[in-house]
């Protein structure tokens, strides 16, 4: 471990990306994600990587995709308004199976909303922001050290499954500074995309084996193939053949579905004897932890279930927990987005409640404690 130091959540994302091998960044600065861009503009330059401030968020996302196709580990960072603009190209990355990481530090929306204030209103956008059924992975850190660890994991998942991975922060976590001790470089596991075994003239770019993930050649190394957002066959050329279309789209889904057990991540705190389980992620989980402690002091048996990957949602873990007679409260800084997923998984079996707040401030432990007392 390195010596303890004070680090900001956004800075930890930048450092995690560098530790994962980031060598290309394109972005357009926007509060509250600006520090990611600012830090990488300096550090990537020092590391021999490439940094480009593009003309807008659409172009930033396009540049990230282009760079990744040449073999680079590429990332961009943004917030709500910019995340909306990136959606079309995120869909392109999903369809063309281009590994990339997108950091979205959530602020209050819709539109420009509140530029400097926290919210969690992009949970559904992170899943469904781009059109069409598409594979995607979304991770939500709730501490600075987790920003670092999960950004490394985001790159590893993007490379392993050839999907866009969203790091979904909120302003609380992005701007918060904490004492951290980071693992040294040799303690970090790094996964790189699978390279083709075939010679360039025998390479079939979108043919995959049992794991449903094709190998990926880097442009500039003698492999030539066609990249398109249209539905394509294994050769990369557009097709309307219903059998090929169905099998191609099935494979995009299966890539994630098959590997869900190894992708999902969640944490449980004091759930063993809990009668009420609070479900929270990101900055909200910090308030929930305090509220849980306060409730325990009053003799109320309260625990926390914290999804760390929200897409795919840790459904099986929550189902196991729901077999006991527990009540659930989903606490969010939105009007109830992940609550829909919780209700889908455990609704009808367990009592499910919500606690929501969108006023530009982190929900206070007292507010959550009041809700616990109401439903207990």
């Amino acid at each position: 471990m390195t010596t303890p130091r004070l680090m900001q959540g956004n800075e930890a994302c930048a450092e995690g990306a560098l530790a994962a091998g980031l060598n290309f960044y394109a972005g357009y600065p926007i509060t509250p994600s600006t520090e990611v861009t600012e830090i990488l503009s300096r550090k990537l330059f020092e590391n021999g990587g490439r940094f480009i401030q593009m003309e807008d968020e659409i172009a930033s996302m396009a540049a990230v995709i282009g760079a990744s196709l040449t073999g680079a580990k590429a990332m961009t960072a943004t917030s709500g308004p910019g995340f909306s603009l990136k959606q079309e190209n995120i869909g392109y990355a999903a369809m063309a199976e281009v590994p990339c990481v997108i950091v979205n530090v959530q602020r209050v929306g819709p539109s420009t909303g509140l530029a400097t204030a926290p919210a969690q209103g992009d949970v559904m956008q992170a899943r469904w922001g781009t059109h069409g059924d598409h594979p995607i992975i979304v991770l939500t850190p709730s501490s600075v050290s987790e920003c670092y660890q999960l950004t490394i994991r985001a790159f590893n998942l993007a490379e392993k499954y050839r999907v866009p991975v969203i790091m979904l922060l909120d302003e609380v976590v992005g701007h918060m500074r904490e004492r951290v001790e980071l693992p040294s470089a040799n303690q970090v596991e790094i996964i790189n995309r699978k390279q083709p075994d075939a010679a360039p003239h025998q390479y079939v770019p979108f043919r995959s084996g049992y794991d449903k993930v094709p190998s990926m050649a880097s442009f500039g190394e003698g492999y030539r193939y066609h990249v398109t957002g249209l539905v394509h066959d294994d050769d990369g050329f557009a097709t309307t053949n219903p059998e090929i279309v169905q099998s191609h789209l099935n494979r995009l889904q299966d890539k994630i579905l098959l590997h869900t057990p190894e992708i999902v991540d969640s944490e449980q705190v004091d759930t063993e004897d809990a009668e009420v389980v609070l479900i929270a992620y990101g900055g909200t989980a910090r308030s929930v932890t305090r509220a849980m402690r306060m409730a325990r002091e009053e003799g109320l048996k309260v625990g926390m279930f914290r999804p760390i990957s929200i897409w795919p949602f840790p459904e099986e873990q929550l189902k196991l927990l729901s077999q006991r007679n527990v009540k659930f409260i989903t606490v969010e800084m939105n009007f109830g987005q992940l609550a829909l997923e919780v209700e889908r998984v455990v609704g009808g079996k367990n009592a499910v409640y919500r606690a929501n707040q969108v006023n530009g401030e982190l929900i206070k432990p007292d507010t959550i404690l009041d809700r616990i007392r109401e439903v207990y």
Partner: protein, 189 residues
């Protein structure tokens, strides 16, 4: 030390409150404590309300913001009016008397100190008011050790400004000492 401190630094954008929060938090780390620092500000680069909060304690810190304010620094009237309400009987408030004309009756110990004036006249640069304030705050409360504060400050300031910042910090320490010995504190319940 087992106590956990909740410190709120408040004023307006441009007064260096967030940097002061960062330096205080880094001093906490040098003391071997756990720390969390958060902030709240508007979209303006200058003016508007600005607030930096630091929680320093020996254990894990869950909720990252201030709930029970132990120490308040208020560098303008608005923040003084807004945040003194939250003080408890054992809280300490340091208020810049060169910028705040009305100090409400509040719980806790209130230290009105002419922080900005001291920075301008004693140190020679108004810009370092945040460092004078940090010196006063640590001198009056012992939230972190003086040595760690000084080391954290030196690690953060630009090269060539070490002397100026050391002078600012000493001015803050001195103001704290004088405020204590003069017993000019007003205790209002």
């Amino acid at each position: 030390m087992t106590k956990s401190w909740e410190v709120r630094l408040s004023g307006s954008g441009g007064q260096g409150l967030i940097l002061a929060g960062i330096i205080l938090a880094e001093a906490g780390i040098l003391d071997g404590q756990n720390v969390v620092q958060t902030q709240s500000y508007g979209p303006e680069a200058r003016g508007g309300a600005s607030k930096a909060e630091v929680v320093i304690g020996p254990g894990d810190i869950d909720y990252p913001k201030v709930l029970d304010c132990d120490v308040l620094l208020a560098l303008n009237q608005e923040s003084c009016t807004k945040f003194t309400d939250d003080l408890k009987s054992d809280s300490v408030a340091i208020i810049d008397s060169s910028l705040v004309s009305q100090i409400p009756s509040v719980n806790g110990k209130v230290y009105p100190l002419p922080i900005t004036k001291l920075a301008r006249e004693e140190v020679g640069k108004e810009l370092v008011a945040n460092v004078v304030a940090l010196g006063a705050l640590v001198g009056l409360t012992g939230v972190v050790s003086r040595e760690s504060l000084s080391n954290a400050l030196m690690a953060r300031v630009p090269k060539g400004t070490e002397e100026l910042n050391t002078k600012a910090l000493e001015t803050g320490f001195k103001a704290a000492k004088e405020a204590r010995t003069r017993k000019t504190t007003q205790q209002v319940s």
